[in-house]
Every structure is written in structure tokens, then in C-alpha cells.
């Protein structure tokens, strides 16, 4: 109950202001207009073809980029967590990748690849790899020296060492990384899409912004936020709790 109260108050305020003070539904849409747009989106109707196709394209891009970023970030992170020199070498590139906004990456990549899916996906990979990398490196560094020495004495090496030792030891870090990078991804995926693609929610949002209708933009914002929160609550939350319990049990 307490959770919902401020949100309800917020919607009430929004309604009051857009109904009595800023009466300009095109720019300041009242909640009922946004709701109508939400229903329109859910009924698969939009100005540039079926909305589900656009949403699907965006989610597919996000999932692809997020998976790739997770794998690359984790592997590089393990390496960097083990060897200080690798970490120092990676620090600046990772940091540049992270700090340049996705829209700029998209522009540079667009020049290299043309209007292709690889453009927003690689831009997202560049931005999402960084937090995974940093988190993993931190996790690996936190592994106790004793365990490492034990590994050395049993001659556990290479792939076996990665999957049998490093990854289980940093499982809780990995879930946290996945969670953080997914949340980050859902926030920035639209930015990567507005500049050059045939479909996607970013294109729709740009369309509504070009024609100056705010209601559908807010509606899409609510949808994406809801998807992000649902995934976080239903997938990552339970996963993180389970891993935490397991690691406490094994101690």
C-alpha cells in the first residue's frame, strides 16, 4: 500500500495540472490521453505499422546486445581481475566506451556499417560491457588468496579454471552485473535507435517527437519502464536472493 501511495498522488497531481493549469494536450497530455495511447499501442496500431513489430525489434536488439556485453564483459573482467596490468590497459578504453553517449557511437558506427541492426547493437554492447567488466574485475579481486593458491596446487587451468572456479566464486557479482546492465540497457536502447534504423521504438518516439505529440511518447516511456521493472522484479530479484542464500549455505 505504502509503495503505491506516492505514485497515485503523482498521477493525481499530473491530472490536476494538465486539466486546470497547462491545458495543452498536445504538449502536456493528461493521464487519460496517455492511457488511450497505451491502449492503442497494445492493440497493435501505430502510424508506422504494427507496434508489436517495433517493440519486438527493440527488445531483440536489447537482449542481443546485453547478452554479448555480458559475455565479453565477464571474460575480460576475469582477466583484468587476475592481472593488474590487463586492468590498467583496459581501464581507459572501457572508460571511453562508457562515457561517450550512445548516440555518438551510433553515428560513428553508422558510417562504418550503414543502416543495419549491427549499429545500435554494437553501440549498446560498447556501453553495457563497461559496467559488467568493472563489476567482474572487482569480484575476481575479492576472491581470497587461499582459494587461488589451492587452485594452483591442484593445477586447475584454462577453461576448467574459468568455469569451475572463477565463475562460481563470483556468481553473486555476475547476477548483480546482469541486473545493473539490463536496467541501464533499457534506459538507453532508445537513444541508440533514433538515428538510423527501419524499425524500433526509438523510431516511433522520434516520429512522435517530430510531429510534436507527447502522449504516445509518455505511453512508450511507461511501457518500457514497466517492462524493465517487471524483468527486474520477476527475474533478477529472485535469482539474486537464491544465489545469496546458496552462498550463505555453503559457507
Amino acid at each position: 500500500m505504502l509503495n503505491a501511495a506516492p505514485v497515485v498522488v503523482g498521477i493525481g497531481l499530473w491530472w490536476t495540472i494538465t486539466t486546470f493549469v497547462l491545458v495543452q494536450p498536445r504538449l502536456f497530455p493528461p493521464p487519460q490521453d496517455v492511457l488511450a495511447e497505451l491502449l492503442r499501442i497494445l492493440s497493435n496500431d501505430g502510424p508506422l505499422g504494427p507496434t508489436y513489430a517495433h517493440a519486438g525489434a527493440t527488445l531483440l536488439r536489447l537482449l542481443t546486445a546485453w547478452s554479448i556485453a555480458f559475455v565479453i564483459g565477464t571474460l575480460l573482467g576475469v582477466l583484468a581481475g587476475r592481472r593488474r596490468l590487463v586492468f590498467d590497459f583496459m581501464a581507459n578504453p572501457v572508460w571511453i566506451a562508457m562515457s561517450v553517449p550512445s548516440v555518438v557511437w551510433v553515428f560513428i558506427l553508422l558510417v562504418l556499417f550503414g543502416i543495419e541492426n549491427i549499429v545500435p547493437v554494437s553501440a549498446l554492447v560498447l556501453l553495457l560491457t563497461a559496467p559488467v567488466f568493472l563489476g567482474t574485475a572487482e569480484g575476481v579481486r575479492a576472491i581470497s588468496k587461499d582459494l587461488l593458491e589451492m587452485c594452483d596446487s591442484y593445477h586447475v587451468r584454462g577453461w576448467q579454471r574459468l568455469t569451475g572456479f572463477y565463475l562460481p566464486s563470483i556468481a553473486s557479482y555476475m547476477v548483480a552485473n546482469a541486473r545493473v546492465s539490463f536496467a541501464y540497457g533499457i534506459r538507453i536502447v532508445l537513444i541508440a535507435e533514433v538515428i538510423g534504423l527501419p524499425n524500433g521504438v526509438g523510431i516511433l518516439v522520434a516520429y512522435w517527437s517530430d510531429t510534436l505529440f507527447m502522449a504516445p511518447i509518455v505511453a512508450w516511456g511507461i511501457l518500457l519502464t514497466a517492462v524493465g521493472m517487471a524483468v527486474d522484479l520477476l527475474v533478477f530479484g529472485p535469482l539474486q536472493r537464491r544465489i545469496r542464500q546458496e552462498s550463505e549455505l555453503s559457507r
Binding site: 509503495n3 596490468l85 553517449p101 555518438v104 533514433v194 516511456g221 518500457l224 521493472m229
Partner: protein
């Protein structure tokens, strides 16, 4: 007490050199207006700096970033402390916080620029709001770890609220604040830059957008380099501060 680590510095420099070499090679192979060579870009950047043109946009972006960053840090720290101390407050704000974490930045930018108008204040508030949940969760979790023992200690010694804040929480919070600050500053700088790209008509982001619209990639990259340099310097400063404080 900051030890200078030679091999680390070398590795860091080496990576930059490798990146520049890759860029130069790509520019020579592609040979197009769309991908100018690094020396051309740095020459343009040099001109921007020497002629003084660089400073007004840099100052505008930096000013808004810093103001928004400060706002976000204050709000975030306040939230973190309140959420760690009061269960009711935490429950009340849980959904709001979740919403603010997951709302797409692009939509926030469009909304803010259109409904609050294109003023410095809009961007500052926007930056602050994006930064706040990041700092807030950081501080809340850091407080949560130590809250019980700290409160117990404070209770048994009967320490007043004011002293509790200045004497206990703040020194204790310094390391997580610095860590959160590093992440938050990068975020703040990026959000300020993005608002300029998507419609705020001055600052570095606006210059990048203009370069882009008129297909002057050399100019675009020169501004981008300036953006990266400033961020690098800020990052190094904060790393230094962090090392100092954490050592202490």
C-alpha cells in the same frame, strides 16, 4: 600518500596509443569525409582552443553538469540516509525510485525540454533526477550494512542527531560517497551532453549536433575529444581523491 605506479601508467598510455593508431589506420583505409584522421581532428581542436571558441560551450556544459551533479548528490545522499533510517520512508519511495531507475533517458529528455522549457534549470533538474537514484541506492546500501551497529553505538552513548550526522555518518559515508560520485559525475556529464544533442541549444552537445547536421565530422570529433579530455581529467582527479580518502 599516493604512490606513483609506473607500469600502470605505462599500460594506460599504451592503450590510448593503440586506440589512436587504430583510428589513424581506419581513417587512411576508408579515406572519406565521414572519417577524418586523428591529426586533422586534433588540429581542429587546437584551433578551437587557441581561438578561445572552445571555452564558452565547455563552460556551459560543465556548469550545468556540475550544478546537476551537486543537486543529484545532495538529493541522493539525503534519500539514502532517510531510507536507511526509516522503514516507512523506504516503503513510500520504493516504487518512485524503481520508476526513476528504469525510465528511458531519451523520454525524460524529450519530456523535460518540452514541458519545462529550455532553461538551464531544466537541464540541471534533469541531470539531478537521473543522478539521484544512483547515488541514493549506493548510500542506502552502504548505510544499511553498518546501520545497526552504528545506531546501537550511538544509542548507548546518547549522541544527539546533529553530532550523529556530522560525527558518525559523514566520515563513515565518505568512501561510498566518493565511489558514487565517480559514477554519478560520468552520468551527469553524459545526460547534460545528451540533452544538448536532443534540443538544448548551446554547450558541447549542441556543437556536436551542429557538426553532425552540416556533415562536418572533423568538427564533431574535435568537440567530442574535448568532451572526453575534460571527463578524463575529472576522472583522474576523483580517482586521486578517492585513494586519499580511502587510505585515510
Amino acid at each position: 600518500m599516493v604512490r606513483f605506479d609506473t607500469s600502470a601508467a605505462l599500460a594506460q598510455i599504451a592503450s590510448i596509443v593503440v586506440l589512436l593508431a587504430l583510428w589513424a589506420a581506419a581513417a587512411i583505409i576508408v579515406d572519406m569525409r565521414a572519417l577524418p584522421a586523428p591529426w586533422l581532428v586534433f588540429a581542429t581542436l587546437g584551433e578551437l582552443i587557441v581561438s578561445g571558441q572552445a571555452f564558452a560551450p565547455l563552460g556551459e556544459t560543465l556548469g550545468r553538469t556540475l550544478a546537476g551533479f551537486a543537486l543529484g548528490m545532495v538529493l541522493g545522499t539525503g534519500y539514502g540516509i532517510a531510507a536507511a533510517l526509516s522503514r516507512t520512508f523506504r516503503e513510500l519511495t520504493l516504487w518512485l525510485l524503481q520508476i526513476s531507475i528504469f525510465t528511458p533517458t531519451l523520454i525524460l529528455i524529450f519530456l523535460f525540454l518540452i514541458s519545462l522549457g529550455r532553461t538551464n534549470l531544466t537541464v540541471i533538474v534533469l541531470v539531478g533526477l537521473v543522478v539521484m537514484p544512483v547515488v541514493g541506492t549506493y548510500i542506502r546500501d552502504a548505510m544499511g550494512d553498518f546501520e545497526d551497529e552504528l545506531t546501537e553505538m550511538a544509542d548507548s552513548f546518547k549522541i544527539g542527531l546533529r553530532e550523529r550526522v556530522t560525527g558518525m555518518y559523514l566520515p563513515f559515508l565518505m568512501p561510498p560517497l566518493l565511489a558514487a560520485g565517480r559514477v554519478a559525475f560520468t552520468l551527469a556529464w553524459k545526460v547534460a551532453f545528451l540533452s544538448e544533442i536532443f534540443g538544448f541549444p548551446n554547450g558541447i552537445g549542441w556543437q556536436v549536433k551542429t557538426g553532425y547536421d552540416i556533415y562536418n565530422i572533423q568538427l564533431l570529433l574535435a568537440w567530442l575529444m574535448l568532451f572526453i579530455f575534460v571527463l578524463l581529467i575529472a576522472e583522474q582527479l576523483m580517482r586521486l581523491a578517492q585513494r586519499r580518502f580511502v587510505k585515510w
